[in-house]
């Protein structure tokens, strides 16, 4: 009997196999957070234990130490191709952006550098529709222009599990295999499948991280959820939004939109 997590999983596997068959070369942005680590697990499911393309971290060297620790542990444990892409410093960013948004845009630039240099045609990203209103508008296969820009007003038609897999030269596609998952689904799946995760998500002294970003632009939330079961119970009743602890989302009403249009994840 298929339960709803099986359905979510099967759909993600289908998308990953489409991407691997149609788009080459392919890479995945692994942020080391709960979503992209669950996605990494789904990749192993899709390819019978293999991870057939590289995992890339857009590294600002501003992640919390526990994140780096977890990263190195998992690479060793699962053994996959990994590359840390160093992002350019904040001084090089658009100075008209609000401060936290500017810090976040370092990753956008790091990604552009990566794609220009390594000529990736497809980049797998673990974003979800329920995270943020902008992301709710995403396609599963989302084409980007040469400079990474996202034209959300003219997106390709996407229906019946048929995705846009052909592109003119100079463009690439973002692939979003867990777009249809919710935050609570990720945790239920992580619990069921026993997927490793960064311990910072669990509450310590009444605080936990609900969403992990760089240490300069992320704050923990008040919570006593110190096990996955408790996190799930918390999410069943919460009305606070997931990215409440991400300061860049709240700089101004359109800062996340500006980030995404110019190529942010």
């Amino acid at each position: 009997m298929q339960d709803y997590l099986d359905d979510l999983e099967s759909r993600s596997i289908y998308i990953l196999r489409e991407a691997y068959n149609r788009i080459k070369p392919l890479g995945m942005l692994w942020s080391i957070g709960k979503d992209s680590t669950a996605l990494l697990w789904l990749i192993r499911k899709a390819f019978f234990g293999r991870i057939p393309f590289p995992m890339i971290q857009l590294d600002t060297q501003m992640e919390l130490p526990e994140v780096y620790e977890f990263r190195d542990m998992l690479i060793k444990k699962w053994g996959f191709e990994f590359h840390a892409e160093m992002c350019p410093p904040e001084e090089e960013m658009d100075q008209t952006l609000p401060p936290a948004t500017r810090a976040a845009s370092r990753k956008t630039q790091g990604l552009k550098n990566l794609i220009t240099r390594d000529k990736y045609k497809g980049i797998i990203v673990g974003i979800r529709r329920d995270e943020q209103a902008m992301r709710a508008k995403e396609r599963v296969f989302s084409p980007r222009s040469f400079d990474g820009a996202w034209d959300y007003k003219d997106q390709p038609a996407e229906f019946w599990d048929q995705y846009k897999t052909e592109f003119p030269e100079g463009t690439h596609v973002r692939i979003h295999p867990i777009l249809h998952w919710r935050e609570i689904d990720i945790w239920r799946y992580t619990l069921r499948e026993n997927i490793p995760y960064v311990p910072l998500y669990l509450a310590k002294n009444g605080l936990r991280y609900r969403s992990l970003g760089e240490k300069n632009i992320t704050t923990p939330i008040q919570s006593n959820a110190s096990t996955l079961e408790e996190i799930i119970a918390e999410l069943e009743t919460t009305k606070a939004s997931e990215r409440a602890g991400r300061t860049m989302d709240h700089d101004s009403e359109d800062s996340f939109e500006r980030l995404r249009r110019s190529g942010y994840m």
């Binding site: 298929q2 709803y4 099986d6 099967s10 196999r17 499911k45 329920d130 709710a136 508008k137 038609a157």
Partner: protein, 635 residues
């Protein structure tokens, strides 16, 4: 746990400004689904901009949308009732955004069609309703919104109900219900509007949604397992894909279409599974290993042999067109059918549907946002199902220049299953058992049929020899005919250009026609340069035993000196591109049945050699055949 229950996808459609976004905002509010941060964020924005808060602002996440006050793209929004989870797919009302509406509506289990009580049924109301029907949505409820603007009048509600019911009936849709609402005030959404509309006795919108069911995976249909990819890891070959219909079991004998090859399922694979998997059903992404190393590739459809999909090279589809360039008769498109991709030609536009009054419009093209019945033709055999029998294999998307430009659902009308043709080819060994076996024709004609395939450079003498040999054979009572560029290009291949692809197709057709002629008992002589081994190999495959390759040999120098049509001269000047021997290669036969060298032998000698070879081949051993066949034929 209620939160674990299946979620229901609901698409909200209707004419622009009939209140879809307000309805969604209200639904979220009345189900307590507002994220705390979100409401504050929006109220802060409104305060800053000095505008009154509107429910629809919730959806207008983009700056651009707030400016234009229309919903640009499909948004998905979650809420839950006591019964289960919902995801709302907000589809924009503007006509040019049909593409986004389809992208959203295709994921829905049920639909809400919003009609403005004051404005009534408008053009997009009808268009969207028709599209819901085309997308196969069965669970539809109609809400008559803004009842407050018509004084909550029962008369107006009845009048509109009648109008919309009549239209929906015309397209074969029966709505589950029609509900009078006022989204702005929450009337009949979560709460019964007993005060405002005491005359309404039906269910509220939320009660109605709770009655609908998620579309179940087609587990009870015949097995369809389209191959998505084939992986080889550690010497194991995994056939990867998702079961789209029915069930697959360990030990099943699978038939792969269109190749018609079969193999048995040795194992069903899912990484991390702790036990042996005995079966998998519709909706599961799996891998399969087989007992035979048969060739399997992406796009093949595995089924059980007694319930295989049809194999066709023509089909009719109900199409919605999203392309900026109109669809035209004779145009070629790429289609995607499950994991298979094929090139199809538009054979005819049978009907363009006016969604306004559902009348038939006579047109020879289909413009953007129009819907039509189209007959497509393909070169290769396509494995598919009518949409009514199996949605997943009964629909196509149409691709032009990297973009999806349309979608269509396949009609059950006019599907001619060609699978038996494959069977017959494979059963060729038993051809003698057929009533009219080739040998029977041979007895009547006094010779067998044959394909005499002349190949060689331009100027080697193929056409001259072909005509002379035809004459020689005819005079000896042999049924014969020459196929050459002149008579083939006039009709059979008049649609073909001279590109590399078209030349290959030209040779393929000649090979097929020659094979048919040989099957009918004729000696078909072909005179084409046919420079590529792969093309000739295909002709040999078509002709089978009856095929004889004759290499008309002459060196390039001699041919260029002869130059009967002046073609070499033009080619040297660059006026003809890709001319065999000059700017394109000639691949000589590796094992022809006969070689005649026209540089060392005169034309008469060559005619003699070929004629002698043919007669020996088509008449040799015929007497034995005659005596063994005589009994059968007369009996």
């Amino acid at each position: 746990m209620s939160d674990q229950a299946q979620k229901l996808g609901v698409v909200i459609v209707g004419h622009v400004d009939h209140g879809k976004s307000t309805l969604i905002g209200r639904l979220l509010h009345d189900t307590g689904s507002f994220m705390e941060g979100k409401l504050e964020e929006l109220k802060a924005v409104c305060a800053r901009r000095n505008v009154e808060f509107e429910w629809s602002f919730l959806l207008d996440a983009f700056q651009a949308e707030r400016d234009q006050a229309i919903t640009i793209d499909t948004t998905q929004i979650w809420f839950k009732t006591k019964k289960r989870n919902y995801v709302i797919i907000d589809a924009p009302g503007h006509r040019e955004f049909l593409k986004n509406m389809v992208s959203g509506a295709a994921f829905a289990d049920a639909a809400i069609l919003v009609v403005d009580a004051k404005e009534g049924v408008r053009e997009q109301t009808k268009r969207h309703a028709y599209l819901l029907h085309l997308l196969g949505l069965q669970q539809i409820t109609v809400v008559i919104n803004k009842m407050d603007m018509v004084g909550y009048a029962e008369e107006r509600f009845k009048e509109l109900s009648k109008e919309i019911t009549a239209y929906l009936k015309g397209i074969g849709v029966t709505p589950h219900s029609i509900i009078p609402i006022a989204a702005r005030h929450g009337d009949n959404i979560a709460h019964k509007a007993d005060k405002a509309m005491p005359w309404f006795k039906g269910l509220t919108l939320l009660e109605t949604l709770d009655v609908f069911e998620p579309i179940a995976a087609p587990v009870d249909r015949p097995l369809r397992f389209p191959v998505q990819d084939v992986y080889r890891y550690d010497e194991i070959r995994y056939i990867a894909g998702r079961v789209e219909a029915g069930k697959i079991r360990k030990g099943d004998v699978l038939t792969f279409s269109p190749s018609n090859r079969t193999a048995k399922v040795v194992s069903i694979e899912k990484w991390g599974s702790k036990h042996d998997i005995l079966s998998a059903q519709a909706g599961e992404s799996i891998g399969v290993t087989l007992d035979q190393p048969i060739f399997v590739a992406r796009g093949d459809i595995a089924s059980l042999s007694d319930k295989a999909p049809v194999l066709v090279n023509a089909f009719r589809a109900n199409v919605f067109w999203l392309g900026k360039k109109p669809l035209k008769v004779g145009s070629h498109y790429k289609i995607k059918l499950s994991t298979y991709e094929a090139t199809v030609t538009v054979q005819s536009i049978d009907r363009v549907i006016s969604t306004d009054d559902l009348s038939r419009v006579e047109k020879d093209s289909v413009d953007i946002n129009e819907m039509a019945e189209i007959t497509f033709h393909s070169r290769e055999l396509l494995a598919l199902d009518p949409y009514q029998e199996n949605a997943k294999l009964g629909r196509i998307v149409i691709v032009e220049n990297h973009d999806v430009v349309g979608g269509g659902i396949i009609s059950s009308e006019g599907l001619h299953d060609m699978r038996h043709v494959l069977h017959r080819t494979q059963d060729n060994l038993h051809a003698v058992d057929h009533l009219l076996a080739p040998a029977a024709r041979a007895v009547r004609n006094g010779h067998r049929g044959a394909v005499i395939w002349l190949t060689g450079l331009s100027g080697a003498g193929k056409s001259t020899l072909a005509m002379r040999v035809e004459h020689a054979l005819f005079s000896r009572g042999i049924q014969t005919y020459v196929l050459d560029g002149d008579n083939v290009r006039k009709g059979l291949c008049s649609d073909l250009s001279f590109t590399a692809e078209a030349r290959t197709e030209n040779i393929r057709r000649v090979g097929e026609v020659a094979a048919l002629m040989a099957d009918a008992g004729l000696v078909a002589i072909t005179a084409f340069i046919s420079p590529f081994r792969s093309d000739r190999r295909r002709a040999r495959d078509a002709g089978g035993q009856a095929f004889h390759e004759i290499y008309v040999k002459a060196d390039l120098q001699t041919c260029e000196k002869r130059d009967p049509k002046g073609l070499y001269k033009k080619a040297r000047k660059g006026e003809i591109k890709e001319f065999t021997g000059i700017s394109s290669p000639y691949e000589p036969p590796e094992a022809p049945e006969l070689v005649v060298d026209t540089t060392t032998h005169g034309i008469d000698a060559c005619v003699e050699m070929i004629t002698e070879y043919i007669i020996k081949t088509i008449r040799g051993d015929l007497r034995q055949n005659v005596s063994s066949l005589a009994g059968k034929v007369s009996a």
